[in-house]
Symmetry: C2
Subunit: 354 residues, 2 copies
Amino acid sequence: MATIFDIAKKAGVSITTVSRALNGYSDVNENTRQMIVQIAEDLKYYPNAAARSLQGKKTNTIAFAPLLNDHLEAEPFFKEFTGVLALASFKHDLSLLVTLVGQNRNLQEIYRELAGTGRVDGVILADIKPQDERIPLLQSLKMPFVAFGRSIDYDRLTYPFVDVDGKAGVAKVVAYLHSTGHHRIAYLAESFTLAYARDRYEGYRQGLKEAGLVEDTRLLALNLQNEESVATALKPMLDLPEAERPTAIVAGNDYLALHLLEVLPKFGFTAGREPGQIAVTGFDDLPFASFLQPALTTLRQPITSTCTVLLDLLVAIIKNQDKPASLLNSGPGLTLFGPKQVLLQPELIVRASA
Amino acid sequence: MATIFDIAKKAGVSITTVSRALNGYSDVNENTRQMIVQIAEDLKYYPNAAARSLQGKKTNTIAFAPLLNDHLEAEPFFKEFTGVLALASFKHDLSLLVTLVGQNRNLQEIYRELAGTGRVDGVILADIKPQDERIPLLQSLKMPFVAFGRSIDYDRLTYPFVDVDGKAGVAKVVAYLHSTGHHRIAYLAESFTLAYARDRYEGYRQGLKEAGLVEDTRLLALNLQNEESVATALKPMLDLPEAERPTAIVAGNDYLALHLLEVLPKFGFTAGREPGQIAVTGFDDLPFASFLQPALTTLRQPITSTCTVLLDLLVAIIKNQDKPASLLNSGPGLTLFGPKQVLLQPELIVRASA
DNA sequence: TTGTAAGCGTTATCAC
DNA sequence: GTGATAACGCTTACAA
């Protein structure tokens, strides 16, 4: 590969001049510059990234560091997100380094390494936990980052994040169900290991309150994960006398909703919005949601805008800028929670299931 | 961040010794080594990646460089693949640099840059075209690579690749349909811009031949892409007198099959395996396939093993090794086409649509 | 406007 | 076993 030395030799100038010419400095004779640029092109010169970043320059690479959970292999949201993020990075002229973080190895290790080896300019954190140790870690490492999601204690968060407003979303679903005549609305929650889960659940409670409904613990099931646990949790609810039985069930995510749709018929019920059916809703709008039977009413995560904002924020932070352009016009569905904290609204997608 | 200098100072040795101790060289006093390792740990030392790779070492990073097409945003296969590849890279202790390649910019440019800037040890090519200029390019750049897919002229391919045997797959589907009583089997093909499309079509022809059926151009539609083109192509086929009308339709991919499923009812037909219905099959087994109505019979791409083999091959090539371990036992579904050329069999997933 | 030289953090080549 | 020192390719004071 050609280096600046090759160019310098061929041009009969010093490497300094070459470097300056190629980096668009003003103090280079226009003729010299043109010659150098020409030669660089002929030689198919590309600056060595390692040498550059060794010099303290940017790497133009950012890391996406989601947590690796056991069944990630089958995690459509992760895949969706990675794909869209790659696309967004591309548009920002950034390379995306996907660094999965296993549970086995010391969590801190990976991030220290990421910061220590200096391969990236910043990192995008995902799968935020209620109390996430990675945040203070990254802060102490002075590594620019933006989190997708937020830990609890919402009012005293100091780090930059983009989050989808799960609370408002689920509250919206409950309001919708209430408006279509439902009064006994159940909620199925996933485990609260990740922060968003509790947030969604809070939305359920808020929704009930706003609709003037009271919580009924018999209509609540926590910590569900697979079809079996859904079935187990569902049985007692459906065994209730008709007047107390839920007429609508809100699931904390599309997977639970999917299980729900599979389990309901086994108990002799059908899902849907018609009288006599049980309304079912999900969250995420995973690719399969629209193909379910009945098609799933759910809250769509605005993945594309999430990724865009995430990157805009990160780039601004890396460049030490004030506020990214994309945030100036905080349109509908985009709330500024703090200076560099963005809340996006999920979109209610009404289909046949509710 | 701590450097070897810091360690050397603290340990009272030279940086040479530190480097050797940390890199596991044999000629370091065991006591010295332990002391150094200890100090490195205390100082939370991580070797600077840039400095390393400047020194000619490996970057432990590989690039995934798919072609960016217009609707990639909605391309589930790309997302699936990226996600799984990230996972596989992780298991190989490699970082994945996702570099999308736009059509706008000079194609060659990106790869030259990738090679020139020296940020990756190798690249995984995807979306191979019948005559793919990137292959000779990468070869001339001496950049290790493995292609996912192959260009035509199968018998004189010299580069390493992993491909899913579309031809055998579709032939298998045709055989299956024939065995279930179908004699008039139509084929809907996508555009032949990417190499795999023609390969699948060849499988259709081979399948017919092996079943002793003759090709009927009235049962063939090429270059389809959206629902509209599917409808247009379908009309004349369905207008044929009953004795000449297709009883089964093989689609070149799941998207075409999806469109098919949507269009058929509009022409008064229903898809399925029952008498009187039209059998429909797809290819890819995209996430939505099992949720369609009727659930789609299709060929599943073995994405996980594809990624595993892809990486094994690439790593072997980078390390200049002979053959990666995972290929020694070329089990069922894995054919060695050449020394570093692997063909994987798609799996026929029979569901309700055929 | 241009050139010299130092330095970024490693590893490798020699000597000792 | 260990230590100087050069080299990797680039940017950037500082000089000229």
